[in-house]
Symmetry: C2
Subunit: 719 residues, 2 copies
């Protein structure tokens, strides 16, 4: 990376006091880094923080979005480092019965051997990040509710359309600080991506689901891809004539050793966090949302398991059960974590202090009025939270009813011009919808769906009248006995269990659907107006919150500034930077986790059975102890993964981890279980991120599954 | 404890070089401690090791055997400290529906409130430990096999009988170094034991089965008892007129703080270890015994679970299943541990080095001949190991068949003078046998017992002829089909399912039993000659090993001495001392266990549900943070348990843990899971012992469940 003289950063000393109070927490927009330069330097960063602020300059333009997650260029010829799990689809796409790249891994001997990714796989290079708040909000000012929402939506779509006029770019509008600011993000879209180097799955995903969220970890979760472009240097679909993309910058993998306490920073595309939500939302999450989710998911799991009476039904619902159990586990983990961190009390006290401070500022009354109005919107939404949870489950956890509702909604949307259709129901979405309708077959058993609906709709029947949806009562009846009769009749009277019938219904127009004699399609037609009405209400609420939340965020930002602290926006899949250090942790009384793991742990965990079936060449290389220059001197063995206190969330997979000089030392791939609640609250005692130690990558490429040409390309020693 | 001037120990410097190579391993006879004085002092012991050698002098005579485990006097008025789980029977015996001492704990307000233990509960004070090898072996010399065994047995019984002539004493002969030496152990038997102080079960057994073998641990596993004697100062049955026993010595609980690395030593009655078994026995344990046990137990569990078709059968077999699963888990843990420590290779290399050394010594040929003969005995035993495993399971895992065999064996033994009856079938054992026969009812279902026998006997049928027992083939048939018919007939034709029938059979004489028409009693009569024959063969092998193993042990002792190391005898429930230090451990790559836990862990683990239902007074006291002088200054909180590298095994429960000055700092109560294999091999990486930190005891007595009078009696500060 580019270095600037140290002296330059001295002029930033005053403004860069900001942020020092929050040394570990923060997913900073690169543009904020000069503002928190003092904190960055105090933490040990040796480069110039202003050098990190420019998205279109090195090193930030070496950080890319890959397959929905993160990655980085690591050579001047378009080599991209990301996670094995982020590139898994590419590896799978190139596997055949006689060439199992998942099991065996892959080393492309030369450029010609690099394997094209699935055609929809993308690498995005962020080239523009422009604040367009005024443009987005110009048409919204003075409006409220749904109108405010529609005005923001229309302005965003227009900005994106204009930006995307140049071929090869994908654009989006990012909402920062909950409607306070809007940024136009412009990304070069590289469409020819190829597989260069993947370790065997038993290295890349060593430990599998068992080790998911687990520290100490021993996975080599990395893969090398290469981006190609047309001979003109511009993005192109795959062609054998394409040439490697020459990135504007790339990161240099470090050849130094790392240890506990070393500075570390990370750049990537974290997905979503809720750190700056209001205290009442924290309370709702901990006191109702998560416990209710745990209870409902637990009940749905019991109902499905009890109703799946034969082997065919158990197979059909295996995936849904696994997904429900995973969601249940995550919800319970998040709940446990937020309780352990006493999140509601901490956030309440922080907010109360902010309000006290705000009361002493000019303009406090207007801000308080907006915040009170936002709270009222949240309170109104909370009044129907039980119903909304049930309706969401009815629409997401059924197969045939969901298919009927989708078909009816599609017919409804087709009545509008394509650009005005609801997102997800546009012409470009129809292939995806058809694919989903085909899949219903494999995931459905009538007895299970009826049992699940009986459970969910009985709960709906038991709600107070103010929450109940009349159309649901009309279709399913108002008593459990009536409900059972209606469900039996609906599922006896539908042909949607046949794939042909579903696809025919999808092709049918609205008029034909209206006349359909299929009981479930008629039920869906009767329910659709209710769902459209609720959807409209939700968008109106969303519009109001877009309008009102900025008062809360501005107060928070001003309050933090009064404390000498900066505020990062909650994560929204835009490029962010966090910094901290390699760090141990104590998960519980009496236990310490060391921050670096070694190959000894691979051998300890090895059982010979998936997911702990370390490949023989790896075990042999460990037994030989031939680690070369990549062995950690203090441990006299090869390290595998390391732990930092960096602030990450989903989407940060594949984020490059840099040292104090901007050299690449690690590759982010997971968090620890104790950090599941970090999407709401960063607790420095428990929040850690898990990275591949790139010395392990170098060793694998040097000694285990050799790729000397790639080490040379990355300017790394041969061993 | 008594201190001797430091200068005295200097004279021991030469001999006490011995043992230094093995600083952590060793369950030393107290009489060996002068021999390893140098190692003890190098480890940090500040007293005179010779002071520890005398069993009948302080501090060793303060260490007692309590309810089959260990304990120590802690006041001059007979107060005894042992584990909550060692005194559990006493607590249970004193609990009533309206006075649940298990749940609530107990604090005797004064002497009058101290509650008598169950009448069979004993505290034993070792008063004599005399080497009587010549006397025991005099009659055995020149004999072999069963005759050697019988000569040793007769001499031992005679020595015990003579020793027990003085009332109030219990005596036994301890076999050290596998027949090399014999010691007469003389113990004062205190029969009036009373409950003084027990914490609630949710403290004494916090974590229950879930935390069993677990570190970090948070249990206050202690109880205080008091020994009483008659007014004449001699052991007596309970009487309200009895007076507290005045022990010859007691241990002083320390008021100092302890930390990682501090010297620690422990005295107690470890049960059994196999450390000095031959390399071939290590190999058989790892390569056959443990894997075969795991496989057979797993299969028995499956058979019982499949056959226990109704709720009544499941309840009847719940305890047996729990016990089988526990044994399976332990066997798997021991196997994993021995493999992790590479025990077979380590022992083989050590033995090979010993043989190489032995070959260069005078008299090597005779020693090698004995050792080869011992190996041949082991090889002959191994030739029928599959059969012996099955016969052991048939006799231990059945209820009705076992009852029939017991009744027949008892009738057989009754034909001899009482002193010559087999141990376990003497007059004094008959009450116990009757009790067991009564219990059969609650633990039996015919379908389960038949299924289990079908599995075990089918395996017997499948053995080669050389292993099969003809009487079993005769009774149960030689094919699976025949087996099924015979089992059906046996269980249809027996009345032993009735308690009255079993007790009547027990009362019947041999002649009446011979004429019995009960199918199962007749089967047992047919099997008995086989079992007696196999028993005789086993004793003949045992006799041969008693005769031959000493050559191996003498070679090992001499070889170790040539390395400057001493050899402790394998554990055999006699008083032993181990020493080491407070010690962290790394159970796996990347994880460190701290050696001290704190009350924070009690709160972390608390769920409100058994076994993590910490009592409210404890939680409140923790929340108040009022820890007084017992709080660890470096942690600023109250510690709970600590970890040492002391060498322990089953039977060491309740062992006092002493500091470098002989002050009481801890109470041993468990080992870590990784140490399950330590009965065969001490691996210093993984062998740890878990102790109550007596500062926790002091805090509970001072602040949580106060007993100021007991603190005063133990000469401890009030808080």
């Amino acid at each position: 990376m580019r270095r600037r003289p140290f002296a330059l950063s001295l002029s930033l000393a005053l403004s860069s006091l900001l942020g020092a109070a929050h040394a570990d927490e923060g997913m900073w927009m690169p543009s904020q880094l000069p503002e928190i330069a003092g904190a960055l330097e105090a933490a040990g960063y040796r480069g110039d923080p202003r050098g990190l602020a420019e998205l279109a300059e090195p090193p930030m333009n070496a950080v890319v979005k890959v397959g929905g997650a993160s990655g980085a260029f690591v050579s001047k010829e378009g080599l991209v480092l990301t996670n094995h799990h982020v590139a898994f689809g590419v590896i799978q796409y190139n596997s055949r019965p006689d060439r199992d790249l998942i099991r065996d891994g892959y080393v492309a001997a030369d450029r010609a051997a690099e394997l094209p990714a699935n055609p929809d796989y993308r690498i995005l290079v962020t080239t523009g990040f422009e604040r367009i708040t005024d443009r987005i909000l110009a048409g919204a000012r003075g409006k409220r509710g749904r109108a405010y929402y529609d005005a923001v939506d229309a302005a965003s779509k227009a900005a994106v359309a204009e930006c995307e006029r140049e071929p090869g770019y994908r654009c989006s509008v990012a909402n920062m600080y909950y409607g306070t600011d809007f940024y136009l993000v412009r990304q070069l879209e590289l469409r020819d991506v190829r597989l260069v180097y993947a370790p065997p799955n038993a290295i890349g995903n060593y430990g599998g689901e068992v080790d998911n969220f687990v520290w100490p970890r021993h996975a080599g979760d990395f893969t090398l891809l290469r981006a190609y472009v047309g001979k003109d240097g511009r993005p192109a679909d795959y062609s054998p004539d394409n040439v490697p993309y020459v990135p504007p910058a790339h990161l240099q993998v470090s050849t130094r050793h790392v240890k506990d306490g070393d500075f570390a920073m990370l750049a990537g595309y974290p997905g979503v966090t809720f750190r700056h939500r209001m205290a009442s939302e924290f309370a709702q999450q901990v006191e109702w949302q998560l416990p209710a989710r745990v209870a409902l998911y637990q009940r749905m799991i019991e109902v499905i398991e009890a109703a799946a009476g034969d082997e065919a039904a158990r197979v059909a619902y295996a995936s849904q059960l696994r997904s429900l159990k995973n969601s249940l586990k995550r919800a319970q983990g998040e709940l446990d974590g937020l309780r352990r961190s006493d999140a509601v009390r901490v956030r309440r006290e922080d907010e109360a202090a902010m309000f006290a401070w705000l009361g002493r500022q000019a303009g406090a009354a207007a801000a308080r009025a907006d915040i009170a109005a936002a709270q009222a919107v949240l309170d109104r939404a909370a009044a129907t939270r039980e119903r909304d949870q049930l309706l969401a489950a009815i629409q997401s956890q059924t197969q045939l009813l969901r298919a009927a509702l989708t078909v009816q909604r599609l017919a409804h949307e087709r009545g509008k011009p394509d650009t005005q259709r609801e997102s997800g129901y546009q012409q470009r979405d129809e292939a995806l919808i058809a694919g989903q309708l085909k899949q219903v077959q494999r995931r459905y058993a009538p007895a299970v769906e009826k049992a699940l609906l009986a459970e969910l709709l009985a709960r709906h029947q038991a709600l107070p009248a103010a929450q109940r949806v009349p159309e649901f009562d009309a279709v399913f009846g108002a008593t459990p006995a009536e409900l059972k009769r209606r469900l039996d009749a609906l599922y006896a009277g539908t042909r949607l269990g046949d794939e042909d019938a579903r696809l025919a219904a999808m092709r049918a127009d609205a008029a034909a659907l209206r006349e359909s004699g299929d009981a479930l399609l008629r039920a869906a037609a009767a329910l659709l107006p209710a769902l459209l009405r609720l959807d409209d209400q939700a968008k109106a609420r969303e519009g109001e919150l877009l309008r009102l939340r900025p008062a809360y965020m501005r107060a928070l930002i001003a309050y933090r500034r009064s404390q000498g602290r900066a505020v990062y926006p909650d994560a929204n899949s835009t490029l962010r930077v966090s910094y901290g250090r390699i760090s141990p942790m104590s998960p519980r009384d009496g236990i310490d986790y060391r921050p670096l793991t070694t190959v000894a742990g691979i051998v300890e965990k090895h059982t010979g059975q998936d997911p702990f079936d370390a490949p023989r060449p790896l075990l042999d290389a460990i037994a030989r102890g031939d680690f070369g220059s990549t062995a950690e001197p203090s441990l006299k063995t090869q390290t595998v993964d390391f732990l930092t206190n960096l602030d990450t969330t989903g989407g940060n997979s594949g984020s490059p981890v840099l040292d104090a000089d901007g050299r690449l030392i690690g590759l982010n791939f997971d968090s620890n279980w104790e950090a599941v609640s970090a999407s709401w609250m960063f607790d420095p005692r428990y929040k850690r991120a898990i990275h591949v130690d790139l010395r392990y990558l170098r060793w694998l490429l040097a000694k285990v599954y050799p790729a000397p040409h790639l080490l040379q390309e990355m300017n790394l020693p041969a061993e």
